[in-house]
Amino acid sequence: MSTITISNLRKTYGSTAAVDGLSLEVPSGSVFGLLGPNGAGKTTTFKCMLGLARASSGTVLYDGKPLVPETFERVAYVPERSVLYESLTVDQHVEMNRRAYKNFDAARAHELLAQFGVARTKRTRYLSKGMRTAVMVACAFARNAEILVLDEPTGGLDPVNQRHVLSLIINEAAKGNSVLFSSHQIGQVERAAERVAIVDRGRLVLEGLVDDLKADRKIVEGIFPDVGFSLDGIANDPRVQRADRTERIVRLLVSSGADEFSSRLSAAGATGIRALDLNLEDIFLYAVSPADATTDVVVKDTSS
């Protein structure tokens, strides 16, 4: 049972901050999804966590202790891109892991590789992108690690194997291990993760339990009889994270109090009022998409 604590992590390349003051805590025995658009700093965060890149400032603690080489007996990592040795066979990669890690279970690795349909005698240069991902995933999950850091662990995999990876992730959490993973497949994150953090431009935009985020946030939509309506200060309420207006239709993204806002819109003359549930993808898009990404007339944007 291990906890990862990231405090004020910052990583700069020249004048560009890839990660800018990120703080997170990954509780033990949980699946934590890290979401963000391309270039948001997810991979850099992972690299800084694992000592692959030197953080400009900030700390990363594993059970309250800084990273030392021995920590990697407990931490498994699947990078975003294939880092396999092209000239080695799959079996040789398994053997390499067996020699490197005390808890590595070669039989388990073979079993997982068989489930993914990977031929063990093949050199990795002859494997497809998805198969390479499968090899890395199989080796990581055979490590019996307490913490798994997975950067796009389903990249290139077919839907069946993607589902298989998600099952593995959930099973790890069930065993009490912690999984921190990123994916562009938000549906996968929604299915597997209990908690998510959304990062954009190196900063933490949103973090919390998936269920809480979905339960609190609603879209309250109303239709006004004509375009000359007034929102009467509704849009300025701090609970309104975003208000979009398209001719006679108003959509409010509210962090809480959906019923109250429905009443206020009704009082303002709106009809056809309804409160819509958000899925994680909606929450993600509202969190990271810039205001001008929509053709809607933006009344207010307080998403940041």
Partner: protein, 337 residues
């Protein structure tokens, strides 16, 4: 932890072994092909068939079979002492050829030939089972070891080039990993040296029973021969770790560049440009481990290479190995994925 490096070394040694095995096989083919021409008996038979030659055979008290061929007409006198597996000692006395004027000494493998002039006569002494200087073996072993060292000399660059996430998430410190990787490569280079020595020993064994000479400069040559490829390896390991994205080019151009610099350092400073080239090349050549080695075995050279001179050269090789190795590890410690 260094399993992949072991695999690289294994692959390199396998290739090396195949090439050496081919050489040994060629040696066997040569031995079989030339068997009838290389037999001492064939040569002796040829000598005995000369018209006017008288042959005398005696057995000396120590068991040596002595054969004497005497041809008074040609003033040729040959005494052959056959010591069996210990080889033959042949003394040939004959009129001096017109074109020859100086005494001569040379050796081919284990065959040592000494010629001396006495007025109009020349005495040639041939020992067929002389000792072979170990230095020869080390020179050959170093050629192979330097090639193997060049092939292996990118242990960090190869990891930087796409595998850092694997290497740096192993439960081992970067320095310890680096030392282990270098250690594995060093063992590979030394193994290549030993394999080469064994292969050439086998080749020689096809023709004679070699007696290796470890005395004098030969023992020093072993030390130098072992250290040179390691220093060369360390230099390239440092260079490739500093230019990891182009390590192939670094390894590929290392030999031409070092040889070119070495050659330019011998430019005669006859004018200002030549002086400049000479000075720059001379300075740069001091950074190359090849500068501090020599496999010249002439007696004069052997005398020149006094112990202190040799110790200085050996120390420079050791120093370069440590400095370049340190630079490679220092760079490795600072790499980021």
């Amino acid at each position: 932890m260094t399993y992949v490096e072991w695999l690289r070394v294994r692959g390199c040694l396998r290739t090396c072994a195949i090439i050496l095995a081919i050489l040994v096989a060629l040696g066997i083919v040569l031995r079989v092909s030339f068997a009838r021409y290389m037999s001492p008996e064939t040569w002796l038979h040829h000598v005995s068939m000369e018209p006017g030659t008288q042959q005398t055979n005696v057995v000396l008290p120590d068991g040596t079979k002595r054969t004497i061929y005497d041809n008074p007409d040609k003033q040729e006198h040959v005494v052959i002492d056959n010591h069996g597996s210990s080889g033959m000692h042949i003394v040939i006395t004959e009129p001096t050829a017109h074109e020859k004027s100086d005494a001569d000494h040379f050796s081919i493998g284990s065959v040592q030939v000494n010629e001396s002039r006495h007025g109009t006569m020349t005495t040639t002494v041939v020992d067929t089972n002389g000792s072979v200087p170990m230095l020869y073996y080390m020179a050959l072993a170093d050629i192979v070891a330097l090639i193997v060292a060049t092939l292996l000399a990118a242990p960090f660059a190869r990891e930087i080039d796409g595998h850092l996430e694997i290497v740096m998430t192993k439960p081992i410190s970067r320095v310890r990993y680096a030392l282990e990787a270098i250690g594995v490569d060093i063992l590979g280079i030394l193994a290549a040296s030993i394999m080469t020595i064994v292969a050439f020993y086998l080749c020689q064994l096809l023709f004679e029973t070699p007696r290796l000479d470890f005395s004098g400069i030969n023992s020093r040559a072993i030390a130098m021969g072992l250290l040179l490829p390691l220093a060369w390896y360390a230099m390239l390991a440092a260079a490739t770790s500093w230019f990891p994205r182009n390590y192939g080019a670094v390894l590929g151009f290392a030999w031409p560049v070092v040889l070119l610099i070495g050659g330019l350092s011998f430019v005669q400073p006859s004018n200002i440009v030549a002086l400049f080239i000479h000075d720059v090349a001379w300075g740069l050549s001091r950074l190359s481990p090849l500068t501090y080695t020599s496999f010249n075995i002439s007696s004069q050279m052997a005398q020149d290479q006094s112990i202190s001179h040799f110790t200085l050269r050996l120390s420079m090789e050791a120093l370069l190995f440590v400095v370049y190795g340190g630079l490679a590890i220092w760079r490795w410690q600072r790499v980021e994925a």
